[in-house]
Symmetry: C2
Subunit: 313 residues, 2 copies
């Protein structure tokens, strides 16, 4: 197994690209791919201020590393969820994130859910009917709310998250199994800030396989939290990932093709009619000002309102 | 395991419906489900003449049986593909189809590809670049062409095929993995005859699982050809079926939900914009008069033209 660029010892075989690379060329190649995605989907320019959402995992820390290497102006945002588990999940992920920021002289914003809202994520989830069976869904809602608020209040032009191809393909797969029109129309590498109160959201790693990200973190010597979140065990998204991994093993490139042909079809106008309908129904939440498609308060504010009442009584 | 309707001995457990039925009630239940699909999707009325495409397999023979039991005016259409294999596939499937028609006093139209076009399907496939690797695709094109012509020339109002839920879900899955906009927009239980020269096509079994069809044929004592077509071995559609079976085993009802939510989203206007674009580009083939989206002759006529030239030279 020899590197295609220099003939040196290959460390990774990118089957879907029919490409073998050595450590040095792989660490060059991956940021180039990320740069291409940034350009292709018009994510942000070198002049814009980027807030990178970092969890302490391989994807978000590597994203921060790559964007820094590519010369972008980035700060980090760490959201303390207050999740325990065997390794004190949240403590450990904060420690690794701070260690990374310190080593690279980067600025990290930290928001702890428990300090801000009185309860940590697992407690909030426990207080809600929905969260008892689907804590990840409640956690996602809280994170999206805080991320947007932090980016908006901090005056950032754009918020970048570390979703990789496997994440995106699994979400797309789930949305396709249910044909959730709203989610299908919204999913993409860029969520434009075309509604007041919303910051542009981008996913620069959307075309990079999870194993490619793991290899990058390893070869760059980035120390990250290995464990999955203890609440994610048995999550549907993990089930979908496994199914797609099986498809990928039998048909290399299938995952990438699934995601890219979706973006292509969308660009070609597949969902045009429905997209127009959906856009019209968004309005700002009267409490937090973030856009929502439901009547009255947004889902986050309604949820937090209920939780407050319960904890007071 | 007891029948929910009579408490008798259950013979089938319909997990996705949480329903156990005995032989007698199952043989009542299935035609009711088919009748519902016919009504729901406005497939045809009792006054219309239905041509049922029969292959000698469990689905199409059972469909013919069910439509007859439901009181519809049906004739059969058997297309002789000239496929050999271990069991003389085509000979055996014709024998079983004729036997079924004879036993029920039904009229069967038979068209043999070799008699009509000089070559059987495997030979035609061999003569085409595409057919050498994908004979099923060539076979499908030939069958669609002949089915429509036979229905049109015979003055039938509608052509019914035996595609079951597993078939439809697998096709949908394949079209979704590639996000083939054209195919996604066309797929459904009814293909309307809104273009001159085209007969309405319907799939009354589109909501019935393959195992439900197999159980019906077995319990009704319908003798059908068990073997898969020898050319279908290793076909992608079979691979997709297996993947969906795995999903179904882990999440009973997932296959039905995938297909029905697709129809729902489509009805809700998900593909509206793109559908309008696609419709405008259809025109009648100058040779056979059937509609086509490609410039000039349709794919069938082009293929047969090439094959004729090759066999003459």
């Amino acid at each position: 197994m020899k590197c295609r660029k220099c003939g040196g010892r290959g460390v990774i075989n990118l089957r879907q690209h029919k490409l073998i690379l050595c450590k040095e060329h792989y660490l060059e190649w991956l940021p180039e791919q990320v740069q291409r995605a940034i350009d292709r989907y018009h994510m942000f320019t070198p002049q814009e201020r980027v807030l990178v959402a970092v969890s302490g995992g391989k994807d978000s820390l590597s994203l921060w590393d790559i964007l820094t290497r590519l010369g972008y102006h980035t700060d980090g945002l760490y959201i303390g969820l207050g999740i325990e588990g065997e390794v004190h999940y949240s403590d450990e992920s904060l420690r690794l994130t701070e260690q990374f920021a310190g080593a690279h002289g980067l600025h990290l914003n930290t928001i702890k859910v428990a300090e801000e809202y009185g309860l940590a994520v697992p407690e909030i989830a426990q207080q809600t009917y929905h969260g008892q069976t689907k804590p990840c869904s409640v956690c996602g809602r809280i994170k999206r709310h805080i991320m947007n608020r932090a980016a908006r209040d901090g005056g950032y032009d754009v918020l970048a998250t570390g979703h990789n191809l496997d994440d995106e393909a699994a979400v797309l797969f789930g949305n396709t199994l249910n044909w959730s029109a709203g989610y299908l129309m919204r999913q993409g590498p860029v969520l434009e800030a075309d509604i007041p109160g919303v910051v542009r959201k981008v996913k620069p790693l959307c075309r990079i396989y999870e194993r490619e990200m793991a290899a990058y973190a390893l070869l760059r010597g980035i120390e990250y939290i290995y464990d999955e979140c203890p609440f994610a065990v048995g999550a549907t998204s993990i089930y979908y990932k496994e199914l797609l991994n099986q498809l990928e093993a039998d048909h290399p490139g299938a995952k990438l093709n699934f995601y890219l042909s979706f973006l292509q079809a969308k660009k070609g106008g597949l969902f045009t009619g429905a997209a127009d309908q959906a856009r019209q129904s968004l309005h700002p939440c009267p409490t937090c000002g973030q856009p929502t498609s439901v009547e009255g308060e947004c889902a986050f504010c309604r949820m937090m309102g209920k939780v407050k009442k319960l904890t007071k009584s």
